[in-house]
Symmetry: C2
Subunit: 694 residues, 2 copies
């Protein structure tokens, strides 16, 4: 502290504490609101290199609302990176030039640099917007402006978020506060947060958003909501983002005054047409409807003896060539509960080729429900005449909510690169459609509930833009923009992020186990649960564990779900001795002493996996502790607190699971293994009424 | 914009837009998070006067955690006011000296200034904390440091907030997002927001907080919650704030394993004693329990044939001299619904003198329920042997939620200054106890849902510290700290704030009408509602309107609730010709043509009042529009948006109410009066499922 000497002498006799007004004035704490658009000031050589650029120029013919926003965004980013003030400007003639056309294409862009200028160009309205964010991404990582040369286009047309937000602000499976959509105060008031939401999305190429829960309220189809939706759509439009809504299939009956919602009834068809017209009158570029039908109690065409195609096509015709109907394939019913994993394939494959052109079928990454690890969904590749969209979940419903650090890019990379055995990878199958991520965004100051969950939002957008990116590259560029450009920091934090998903799989549901969470919340262990009304809601349905063994037989001797995959794919999972251990108990029911490829009996391997998961979280906490010098105080403490919670909860998962398996198999623990800390009864007794997100 | 000239020339042929890196770098938008502790930089003479102070000195013997916090707070505030950086420091020997003892008293303090120094002193641990905030309050208004001379002590010992927050984060009657208490992540993680909450409260003298809803979950009494509560209490303690919880009376039965919660059962007594001991072991300065018993379905001693005093004293003995039991007098039952206003008095007055010394009875400002205007509660003054605490509601359950601008200090001033006719004003009656405000604080970035609702939090604290402050003085000091010190701004905004509460009374429930809100939400009109199960839930119960007249007869010819007041007070409200028109229909049922003191018939006066309310809101919107030069962009727009909503909703209240009264009395409108915009059926048809706070 710089202290005036005269004053210190004068006070020496009585003062023990002296706070002079020093240290550069009060800096605002970093709270995570800025996301990866934080653009921390550059230093040293990187700063000097950027200082030669003194302005942003927009070519006259490229001047649209979006390109002006792009220029303002670039100006803002550069100011942050330069930390400049008016009197520090160096004008030496180098500029950044925005020169894009006003087309309606996919937003491809180039960024080309030479000594005189950096030029961002492209054929579309959004080219310069994406180009600006592309350039800022490079600059924020400290790269030499003159070395930035980008030539990019998105890999798929639809890169969307799905918000499971209810009109009253509650977010289903939301672990980051309330909804950012304030329907109560709209349309008169639009929160600044929605603008920053649009900026963040545009910066990673997201171009569509479904603003309400798939368990949909019909409110969104009422006249009263149209001005509200319009205000949001108007705010998102300049950022290249289209608004969609989840539509409740039974709305014609519930709010339309009809006695049916039968898709073949002309009155129903007319009702949807009239509603679509009203929406398009207010929002000319309205994206369309997302529909969850005949799933988990939601209404749908099967209520009237019609098919998913009947329902989807009826709505698609109401929309016409103005937009898209996205129909979810996440269905399971009480009728056939022999293997829930089989139902979507069974219902949808026969409909291949029967959907209208403007219908997309949206398929989760796996056949159950966003579990820590699932094999890719057998629908991918099995509907060659239907556009399929991939639905991964960004919010971590089954992966520790917002307190566990789990970087999801490796999981999505796994599914995107999976070879369907039917002429391409999943990424290739979805290329004509896109990806829709179930958002983890809420009113929490840091948007995602935890700082590291921002990385999952980021990674989703980046992978939808380019599924060829590696998890490592995404982690590194995210961490550099979000926390620190220091290589030592990046090496450590990227390694931690990359290991985190396998850690979660191992402490929660190793070796292909799945759906083992307790009732009433989805974040803690409940392998013992077997009392829920529908068989496929129970963890015991999935583990099939008993004294003799564990695992779900999905081979020909069991449910034969394996047969839904292409033969070449099925072959690799058919023999338990050759199956990748990560999927072993997904496809096979095996005795506890089954000899693993590692040489250990299954029981010992299972315990080793739990232990690995716990150890990995401990390692993450240790790594983070060593990174304190690189991170601002508040965010450092936030992450450290959450890792402490994760350490406790990883142990909870391990101990409760092992205690339960022991109660079934009566087996002891391998030598040197820690016993569960508490009794099985203790774990069964735990309740968490304050757990969020249901 | 400062633009490099060479560059402009060079680009003139093609550039239409040029954004140079100017304008002082990117300033953060003002979002309201800083509250009245914003401390905007001083300018001109005020800045020069403060610049002579160069440091903060703490006397050695005064060095406690709290005084160090006080010094840090002063340092932070001064830096913000000075906008200083290290190289601008002027060290000329003038300091601010903190010299307080470490007593446990009420926090009285003095601030004395001379040429050499400003000295803050006092006998208690919190003296310097309150002194620092007192000094900063003056400096933030631009006052000359050398003219600041304060000598203050709080008027009452308990200055508390009551949070109606549930463990899952939902806030009952919350219009500003979710709870700031994150019980799910506690105790491992304490959000920075709780520290800033403590700072804001300490700055206005609040010294206690009840962290959970009076409709209480027994969770807060479980072992699992004690570490969570302890973590919060530890964070609040250095700011002079004690933690209390709402205790569910039936907890011994619900979580204690007993078959009863009878307060006279020794097992029940032992259970509460054990729970109190557990809480005090973790939190030595735990404040105590707040109890809502036998009210609106909550359990209580009457369930076992015992009195409120039996219940309160049992819990008070469990706590002993370690803390306080605060027992709410807000009771009403289905048994006697002739006049809900009478019940609290009837149940509690007979118990006067029967409560233990560490029991306080907490009484709402009026006898119904936080209505826009009620006469003061007849219990004040009627229980001379019982400590009574005043419970006003800061969250605006019946006053337009967080979108209507309604400054509540005039309402509270009205009740505090009311002469009970029994030897003192309400302020004097509550002086031995205190005030508990139902908080309007949530997770919204600006804490209160709207910027102007921050003023109600502020005013509550200031009035609890000094009920002699005027609404005008509070509004002026708040607005100067929060928005702008410019006299022209202050004159306009203070005038707007002072008129706002009467405006709300007039457009909602003029002339003593009350409880006229629609079912399912509490912010819109529903005077027609008469179908709710309990009579006293219905607006029609309160208006008693029919073809012949309107109003609730509470004189001797009616419910005689008037007799609960002291004779001198009752006398002023007994004769409708002499009763203050503001309370007219509260006490009297009158024909529509009753001649008012204004000379108008009642019906015409009623309409004039509605019109006045609407006109006043229009005037507020106009005033605010003229203040744009003084206010930062985001906050200006936020307030303007909300005023637009308030303009619409004031008309809605007026029009729906008039339409309904007309349907009863068949009367036409006075000449020149605008008819309701829509039909009565339209107003009755409106529903708002997205309205918050139920």
């Amino acid at each position: 502290m710089m202290i005036g000497r005269g004053l210190v002498n004068r006070c020496a006799a009585l003062a023990v504490l002296f706070l002079a007004f020093v240290a550069g004035g009060p800096a605002r704490a970093e709270d995570g609101y800025a996301l990866w658009l934080r653009h921390a000031p550059l230093e040293g050589e990187a700063l000097e290199r950027l200082r030669r650029f003194s302005g942003v120029v927009i070519e006259e013919e490229a001047s649209t609302e979006t390109s002006r926003l792009a220029a303002a965004e670039l100006d803002r980013g550069l100011k942050l990176l330069l930390g400049v003030y008016a009197d520090e400007i160096v004008v030496d003639g180098s500029v950044i030039r925005l020169d894009c056309k006003a087309g309606d294409g996919d937003g491809r862009f180039t960024v080309a640099s030479d000594e005189d200028e950096i030029r961002i160009s492209g054929p579309d309205k959004t080219s310069c917007l994406y180009g600006v964010y592309g350039l800022l991404r490079e600059l924020s990582q400290g790269k030499d402006p003159l070395s930035v040369n980008l030539d990019e286009k998105p890999a798929m047309p639809l890169r969307m978020l799905n918000h499971w937000d209810n009109p009253d602000g509650h977010v289903e499976r939301g672990y980051s506060g309330r909804s950012i959509f304030d329907w109560w105060r709209l349309p008169e008031h639009l929160d600044q947060r929605l603008i920053d939401y649009a900026r963040a999305n545009a910066s990673i190429g997201i171009n569509g958003t479904v603003v309400n829960n798939v368990n949909a309220s019909p409110l969104f189809l009422t006249d009263r909501y149209i001005p509200k939706l319009k205000r949001v759509a108007d705010a998102l439009r300049p950022y290249g983002i289209k608004l969609y809504i989840s539509a409740r299939f039974s709305a014609p009956h519930e709010i339309g005054g009809l006695d049916t919602a039968d898709p073949l009834d002309p009155r129903v068809q007319a009702w949807w047409k009239e509603r679509a017209d009203a929406l398009y009158a207010a929002i000319p570029d309205f994206g369309g409807f997302l529909v969850k039908a005949n799933s988990e109690g939601q209404p749908g065409p099967q209520d009237y003896g019609r098919t998913h195609a009947d329902g989807a096509n009826m709505m698609a015709r109401a929309i016409g060539d103005r937009g898209t109907v996205i129909w979810r394939a996440f269905v399971y019913s009480e009728v056939d509960a022999t293997d829930r994993a089989k139902q979507a394939y069974a219902e949808f494959v026969p409909l291949d080729g029967k959907f209208d052109e403007n219908v997309i079928v949206q398929v989760k990454n796996g056949a159950i429900d966003f579990q820590p690890r699932e094999p890719f969904h057998p629908l991918f590749g099995a509907m060659p005449h239907t556009r399929l969209m991939l639905e991964p979940q960004i919010t971590k419903e089954y992966l520790g909510f917002s307190t566990h650090l789990v970087f999801l890019a490796p999981m999505w990379e796994e599914v995107l690169r999976a070879d369907t055995g039917r002429g391409g990878t999943v990424a290739q199958v979805i290329a004509p459609a896109g990806m829709a991520g179930v958002a983890n965004i809420g009113s929490d100051r840091n948007w995602s509930g935890s700082h590291f969950d921002q990385a999952n939002w980021y990674a989703f957008g980046r992978l939808a833009w380019d599924p060829g990116l590696t998890s490592e590259a995404i982690a590194r560029e995210w961490a550099a923009q979000t926390f620190s450009r220091e290589p030592a920091f990046l090496d450590a934090v990227v390694s931690m992020m990359l290991a985190s998903r396998q850690a979660a799989v191992d402490y929660m549901t190793p070796l292909g186990l799945t759906h083992q969470m307790d009732t009433g919340h989805h974040y803690g262990p409940g392998p013992w649960v077997a009392d829920l009304a529908r068989p496929e809601w129970n963890p015991m349905y999935y583990s099939r564990a008993d004294k003799g063994g564990i695992g779900f037989d999905r081979t020909a001797s069991g449910s034969n779900a394996l047969s839904q995959y292409a033969p070449s794919v099925a072959a690799q999972w058919n023999d338990p001795r050759k199956t990748d251990p990560e999927y072993l108990l997904w496809f096979h029911h095996l005795p506890w002493d089954f000899p693993m490829q590692s040489g250990k009996p299954l029981w010992n391997e299972l315990i080793a996996r739990y232990d690995h998961g716990v150890a990995e979280v401990d390692r993450m906490a240790g790594t983070w502790a060593s990174l304190e010098p690189y991170v601002d105080d508040q965010r450092f403490a936030d992450v450290a607190d959450f890792l402490r919670i994760q350490q406790q909860e990883a142990r909870w998962w391990r101990d409760a699971s092992i205690a339960y398996w022991q109660s079934l198999n009566g087996l002891g623990l391998p030598e040197g293994t820690c016993p569960p800390e508490h009794s099985l009864d203790y774990y069964r007794s735990l309740t968490f009424p304050e757990a969020p997100g249901n």
